[in-house]
């Protein structure tokens, strides 16, 4: 049963070698009073039974809806080779590369991944990953607080509301002051941002494109912040970085983001990939693992975990973060994806997203009663205002096999009639037309 190799005979032999009469003797250290009061678990199942059971369970999920949902998490195409290579069990059944001689594959892959993230973000140093885009942002805040010795963080109104909530949760027991810039649907409101900057401000958090899909060039904000010794953290969408101004170009101090778009399945929320990149100046404040290139005893090129004195297993309570296990396999997937899709391919993916989103925008605008919020240019996501509750519309679209976008009322009171629509390279003109016609049908009866 299960995955145990030893036969009954071998177990007897082994017990004898241990000088024990039974397995129970080996558990004598657990006194009878501490034995389980209950252990009511299901009967064992064979692999065949389990497989059939889970096929049935998976079948009860509506994964087949045509997907216009985004909000920071996107339905992008994953080339077959990503799965094929990431499924090699030399990668996925290995542990953290603490023994470098036995882990050159993982170590080199992480080094290359770090390089790719640097090139994409225009930053100098990237770590080996953290859990997700939200925890990356939290870690970036910690870096800024430590680097500046200040206690206040300003969050722009365009920041993903999920991340905003995560930041509050993580800091509830710490003395950190947050200032939220009021939400606009356009670009960062300079007047509000500049007013919010105080002498004790450690960092400003920006997002590009922002939660509503709006693109911005925040160079002026960065300049203003740096004059006052304030750091800038920018949360970015890696696919968009193929075309858009990078955190490095605007002069941001820390870039973070969700790497799910880079070949990682949506999988109902995880595992995902938090990427973090920064300047050489801040590298010692960076959390998590970092791989460096060096040589071995014989002068051969070798890769190894480096600057480990920042980490919990060395510094314990003084570590920059408590992170140990990260998202190594997801980082590997992102690296394989970027290697396959390549320099031109990523630009093509981004261009397809942008072009199709523009088309969808025009198409939806033509529907009576529907308007598009377009004060500022958007990338592949945009907000439409409906004549009815967006949740109601969504319900009707689901019946037609469509997940039409994210209703915003739950995150932004007052926006109950707003829907955030995301378009990726996977959506076809036909599918966009199907959604437009379905909306027309229910809104214009």
């Amino acid at each position: 049963m299960g995955y145990i190799a030893n036969t009954a005979g071998q177990r007897e032999e082994m017990l004898k070698a241990c000088g024990a009469a039974s397995v129970d003797e080996l558990f004598a250290c657990i006194p009878p009073a501490l034995r389980p009061k209950s252990f009511q678990l299901p009967r064992p199942r064979s692999e065949l039974e389990a497989h059939n059971f889970f096929k049935e369970v998976a079948g009860r999920n509506y994964s087949h809806l045509t997907n216009f949902l985004g909000g920071g998490f996107y339905d992008h195409f994953i080339p077959a080779a990503v799965d094929a290579l990431a499924s090699r069990s030399e990668f996925y059944t290995a542990y953290t590369p603490y023994q470098p001689e036995l882990s050159q594959g993982t170590l080199q892959a992480i080094y290359e991944y770090q390089t790719g993230i640097c090139r994409l973000t225009g930053m100098e140093v990237a770590n080996a990953s953290v859990y997700d885009g939200g925890t990356a942002l939290y870690e970036a805040c910690q870096m800024a607080l430590h680097a500046t010795g200040r206690g206040r963080i300003v969050m722009d109104g365009g920041l993903n509301p999920v991340y905003r909530k995560m930041l509050y949760s993580y800091t509830a027991n710490l003395c950190i002051e947050f200032t939220e810039i009021p939400v606009t649907h356009g670009q960062s409101d300079r007047r509000h941002v500049f007013q919010a900057l105080k002498d004790n401000t450690a960092a400003v958090i920006l997002q590009n494109p922002n939660f509503f899909g709006v693109m911005d060039d925040a160079s002026d904000i960065v300049k203003h912040c740096h004059e006052r010794g304030i750091l800038v953290i920018q949360s970015v969408y890696p696919i968009a970085l193929a075309l858009l101004k990078t955190p490095g170009e605007i002069g941001a101090d820390i870039a973070t983001g969700e790497g799910q778009s880079l070949g990682i399945p949506l999988a109902f929320g995880g595992p995902y990939l938090g990427f973090m990149a920064t300047t050489k100046e801040l590298v010692r404040k960076l959390p998590g693992r970092l791989v460096g290139r060096t040589v071995d005893r014989l002068g051969r090129e070798a890769f190894v975990l480096t600057l480990q004195a920042r980490e919990q297993h060395i510094r314990r309570e003084k570590a920059t973060s408590n992170i140990c296990t990260n998202e190594a396999l997801c980082a590997l997937r992102a690296h394989i994806y970027l290697s396959l899709i390549g320099k031109q391919g990523l630009k093509d993916v981004a261009s397809l997203c942008y072009a199709k989103a523009r088309y969808a925008m025009e198409r939806f605008k033509a529907i009576r009663g529907v308007s598009v919020m377009e004060e500022s240019p958007t990338f592949n996501e945009f907000v439409i205002r409906l004549p009815i509750d967006a949740g109601d519309l969504a319900g009707m679209m689901v019946e037609r096999g469509l997940a039409p976008g994210l209703p915003l009322g739950r995150f932004y009171p007052g926006m109950e009639r707003c829907l955030l629509v995301a378009i990726t390279e996977k959506r076809t003109k036909f599918e966009i037309g199907t959604l437009a016609e379905a909306m027309e049908a229910v809104l214009c009866q």
């Binding site: 299960g2 036995l102 949740g391």
Partner: protein, 486 residues
């Protein structure tokens, strides 16, 4: 082997994409565009496949050989877990689907997985409720500390300190500190290998928020005083956190909840066989007793009267969002598959065989190596390289020598309280034949330490690279490839 960027050829493509089927849009304004393209690879699919296949061959993994890395539980990861996780009904599911009206009904299969896994973990651990949201073991510890802080704050307790045994994992003190507490170590009784109760009594004050305990501890010793530890803590209004990293030893033999543990986490990537992925993703579900349920992260999966499941966000005392959604869903799914397949009897066999395998190896090696705690162990045990030190051979040299014998080495230099520690955890999935081969290799390495110590200091010699120059790595800080730097 070349870095992948060195293999690029200008103009080469790896993936074909569909033609654009919509009219060309107005260009993105220059103000928002990057000035130069990102220098990503330009490779064919075959180039990429060969590169990563070659990289994979430079890795040691559970599927390639025995991996007795103490405290990491490198057991076999059944393939059916991967097959189930790849079913489209799970892998293609957008996490915002429940945000659509009646959206919970669109993800009933996924919610069932989460709900049922929570119930099973409650039964395994004897806790009242679990959250599956923590994304790794250390993330579970942090979540646990946040729950404890929320509990004390809600009750008006002024608490400032967390007590941690000196043999604990490094993540424990870091997690306590990041949650806003100062941490204070308490010593282990070096005779029993268990927490020094007298020292603990002296350390716990009214300011103590929690004691963090690992049991069996990192010496592989079960602390039979656990109820006394709980009592000492509760007397002063402190809670007890249980690091479930070593739960693989006690399935069906001991449940933390029964001993009065208040909060705990489980590493699904250890005990419940989800793959380690070269360092993640893992999952670190956190279990609590009734009095802490109100503080659990949102959302929570609840069952309706009609037996359907839904996500409930209405918990005013909750610590809020610690993950963007519902945790590392596909890792939780794999653990659920594993538990359902093994069932109750299978889980008990896991622990019995893990403990038997560890004791078998320990007994076979206690002549060749120093065994600081000579008593039956749980799922792992700690040797010391004390004897070999006499010839100037350190634990790290023995570890590297073992690599040349074809094995992954044990964990070295941990726990910190044993000098020159070698921490060995065979796990239940290894056969006697494998263990015997490992024992023989360990003995050969010990013999080499006595006969030709200098050869071990040069080990390993059979791997693609020998020991990397870590000083150079830290000094040069070459952490991203640049073509002009050799």
């Amino acid at each position: 082997m070349s870095v992948i960027f060195q293999k690029s050829a200008a103009g080469r493509r790896g993936v074909s994409l569909p033609e654009c089927d919509v009219p060309a849009p107005p260009p993105i304004p220059d103000a928002y565009r990057r000035a130069r393209d990102a220098e990503l690879c330009e490779l064919s699919e075959l180039d990429v496949v060969r590169h990563f296949t070659e990289l994979s061959r430079r890795n040691y993994a559970v599927d390639t050989g025995f991996y007795p890395l103490g405290s990491c539980t490198m057991k076999y990861n059944p393939k059916i877990l991967e097959t189930v996780a790849r079913l489209e009904g799970f892998s293609d599911l957008h996490p915002f689907l429940p945000q659509l009206r009646h959206g919970g009904m669109l993800v009933q299969g996924a919610l069932q997985v989460l709900y049922e896994l929570e119930r099973l973990l409650c039964e395994v651990a004897g806790m009242d409720a679990f959250t599956l949201q923590p994304l790794a073991g250390a993330h579970g510890e942090l979540t646990g500390m946040m729950l404890i802080a929320a509990y004390h704050r809600d009750h008006g307790h002024a608490k400032s300190e967390v007590i941690i045994p000196d043999e604990a994992h490094g993540t424990n003190p870091a997690s306590g500190a990041i949650a806003g507490y100062t941490t204070r170590p308490v010593p282990t009784n070096l005779r029993t290998g268990m927490l020094d109760l007298q020292a603990l009594e002296g350390a716990v004050t009214d300011r103590t928020a929690a004691i963090m305990l690992t049991n069996p501890n990192t010496l592989g010793i079960f602390n039979s005083d656990i109820e006394k530890v709980v009592e000492i803590a509760h007397r002063r209004g402190a809670l007890v956190y249980y690091d479930g990293a070593n739960l693989n030893a006690v399935l069906g033999k001991f449940r933390p909840g029964d001993a009065g543990i208040d909060v705990m986490h489980i590493n699904l990537h250890k005990t419940f066989a989800t793959p380690h992925g070269s360092g993640g993703p893992g999952a670190g579900p956190v279990g609590v007793q009734k009095r802490l349920v109100d503080y659990l992260p949102i959302s929570r999966v609840v069952k309706r009267q009609d037996n359907t499941s839904t996500l409930d966000y209405d918990f005013p005392k909750s610590i809020g969002y610690i993950a963007p959604f519902y945790g590392n869903f596909s890792i939780c799914l794999r653990a659920y598959v594993y538990i359902l397949m093994l069932g109750g009897p299978g889980l008990v066999e896991v622990s019995e065989n893990a403990v038997l395998n560890a004791n078998y190896v320990m007994n076979a090696l206690k002549e060749a190596y120093d065994l600081p705690f000579d008593r039956p162990c749980m799922h792992e045990f700690v040797l010391s390289a004390k004897k070999q030190m006499e010839a100037g051979v350190h634990a790290i040299d023995l570890a590297k020598g073992l690599i040349d014998e074809g094995f992954h080495p044990p964990t070295v230099y941990f726990p910190l309280i044993v000098k020159e520690a070698l921490m060995i955890e065979p796990t239940e999935t290894e056969s006697k034949e494998t263990l015997d081969a490992f024992i023989a290799a360990m003995k050969r390495v010990a013999a080499k330490a006595a006969s030709s110590p200098s050869s071990l200091r040069d080990a390993p010699v059979t791997t693609p690279v020998s020991r990397p120059d870590e000083v150079k790595a830290a000094r040069d800080m070459d952490v991203a490839y640049r073509p002009n730097v050799s």
